[in-house]
Subunit: 407 residues, 2 copies
């Protein structure tokens, strides 16, 4: 019998109506002779509510106890969904991680899954039960509840799909019905992608496409678990498969899979620095120490032994970064700092780049034809990113989407 | 070292401020060299909220899953209180019933406690931890969560106090600071009782004094666990000890311990029935079958082989009872039904009645002097109850309270 692991997020179980609705869909699946394990998040808002209450008592709460409190929401959802399934005569049972041994390490609130016990679940599936598992949590060797961090329910689902050798892992979304070639809100001709490889998906998600957490995609990649992203409500719509590049049917493979953008970056130029070894380290060491993630770095050609260094950091960290640079002015010895918040990072992503040449040139030409100036460039094996002016972001998406025949 | 089990109800942990407040009090106790196990209820309103959500999904939810959902509130409270204690540098740990084996039978939502594992708790206490236990729940032999029914957290506390051989079990209340000789809202000279025996407390609580659930008092009586009812906020106020009659200091023993009243009863007279065997059964069988609890029953002297039968039932069941009687009119064969909602049940409770005579007469004389008519009388070993007109309730309390020197 075909085994599927399904995961429903917080919005999908956000009300009793929605829980009843997904119970109906799961029930239909069981009638198609499918074995189903369901992973659920807490009802939308519940985890934040518990976090807020806890933080009122302690700003840095004890980690073990915090996980005990914060993991309740998923347990409640699991019980409620089981009740909803039983109400419509579908055999179901909620099963806590402590009951089937989803073991993690000791790192509370960012625990790593070490192993997943399958015996109990397999027995329940054999008896015809839908097994409903609270996501986001496991237990450590002492039997204490641990949590897996943001997006942890996706990790639970992937781990279960791998351990149970499920045919695939379905991630059901309330707000989207798959992965798109670009943001449909910015470009109406965006198309749903049928197949995307893990590394492509990683590039898409790290660039601000919030459909899947990068952590879950990486984890699925490592465990070679096929993901299927689809809509909770539009059940007949096709979704998007995320899988190994080699498993994607040849006729579905594209040179460029998508165009993504990121408006959350800002740009800093440190000008008039000496072009000597160690100067970059002097700049980036204190920034890194402050926990600020630098993305792109470009250094200009040196003139009279002086050069400029430009890099991007999240907009939220801009002021902090400028402050750090200013307090290190004498040490770094620069002329001035130029900051720019009005930037967009625009990228094309595609595994086909590895085997096709001239993609970068096509991108630069396309932007040039659209009269869009490029201020920074960065490339990876399956991605080319350009920093442009924020006001040109929409136009850039439109031109690139057409150029690479994604319409 | 002295071991105390404390139990805090939903109002006492009803906000983060209150949780922080009780954490401070517990911390103070630990500095007095006390070992403390704390049992907590869910934050006020939380259990009702979860019940409401669940009932929206299923009117008769699966019992196992219902208990899984409904037991979350106490687990959250236990985590939060531990965090609050740790925040003020008091060693504390929350401990689920599954972790120390608080085993119950399989009767979900009204489970009985079968045994309480003490090893883990004792070890933690030895290491200097305050152990915080979520009340109201246990696990059955399969490891599923079960719940103990209304007032279940009191039962958890009593069971733990017994298993751990605690010196006593403290029940901390947010709204009252002990048991009173009569309702202080109705009679300002009501006095706090220092000592009361289990059976007296049972008579008091079954008569509408809502401070302690009868179930918890019975359980404490069976296990011979001393209870101490005190205020959460007025920590210096003395509370009330509930214990075995023999353990109460002789000078603290009273003939009459309290005067209680119950305004939730109503009275029905079925008149003109035949005085033959089996007629009472014909009346009470259908009433009992409908789940209606009849309290007092009085039958008049028969005249011409006809008699009247008067009984009390909860006000809420009055209409239902009258309906049942009317639909059975031909079978019972009565003349008429007289109903009276305007009654009060007034009772004096005291273990001293067993050894002192003339108490009933004193009660009747006192009511007579107050010009209060008695329409029904019922007596037990430690209680005498009279049905009077509701409007005279306050006056009756006042006269009886004075007569039996409770002021």
């Amino acid at each position: 019998m075909d085994l599927i692991v399904q995961k429903y997020g917080g919005t999908s179980v956000g009300s009793t109506e929605k829980i009843k609705y997904i119970a109906k869909n799961i029930s239909k699946l069981t009638k198609k002779n499918k074995s189903i394990v369901v992973v659920v998040s807490a009802m939308a808002g519940e985890t934040d509510r518990l976090d807020k209450i806890t933080k009122k008592i302690s700003k840095i709460p004890n980690e073990k106890e915090y996980d005990q409190v914060i993991s309740s929401g998923e347990k409640i959802s699991a019980g409620l969904l089981s009740i909803a399934l039983l109400e419509i005569k579908t055999k179901a049972v909620s099963l806590d991680p402590s009951k089937f041994d989803l073991l993690t390490d000791d790192l509370h609130s960012k625990a790593k899954i070490l192993s997943v016990g399958t015996k109990k679940i397999k027995n329940l599936l054999k008896e015809g039960f839908v097994v409903v598992v609270p996501g986001f949590q496991g237990i450590n060797s002492k039997g204490d509840v641990t949590t897996l961090g943001r997006g942890g329910s996706d990790l639970t689902a992937v781990a279960l799909a791998s351990a149970l050798k499920a045919s695939h892992c379905e991630l059901l979304k309330d707000d989207v019905d798959g992965i798109y070639t670009t943001d449909p809100r910015l470009y109406k001709d965006a198309k749903k992608i049928n197949y995307i490889s893990y590394p492509e998906m990683l590039e898409m998600s790290s660039l601000g496409s919030k459909v899947l957490q990068a952590k879950a995609v990486e984890y699925a990649n490592n465990l070679k678990v096929k993901l299927y992203v689809k809509s909770t409500s539009k059940t007949t719509n096709k979704g998007t498969w995320v899988m190994d590049e080699k498993s994607i049917p040849i006729k579905e493979r594209k040179i460029i899979t998508g165009v993504t953008h990121d408006l959350k970056q800002s740009k800093i130029t440190v000008s008039g620095i000496e072009d000597v070894p160690g100067v970059a380290s002097k700049i980036f060491k204190p920034i890194g120490a402050a926990g600020i993630v630098v993305d792109m770095i470009v250094q200009n050609i040196s003139i009279d032994n002086k050069t400029d260094l430009t890099f991007t950091i999240p907009k939220d960290d801009l002021n902090k970064t400028v402050k750090i640079l200013k307090s290190n002015k004498s040490k770094i010895n620069y002329r001035e700092i130029i900051q720019d918040k009005e930037i967009a990072l625009i990228s094309i992503v595609g595994a086909g780049m590895k085997t096709h040449t001239g993609i970068a040139t096509r991108m630069f030409d396309t932007l040039s034809n659209a009269k869009i100036n490029i201020s920074m460039i960065s490339t990876s094996e399956i991605k080319i990113s350009c920093v442009i002016n924020q006001s040109k972001c929409k136009k850039a998406i439109q031109y690139l989407h057409k150029e690479f025949k994604l319409d």
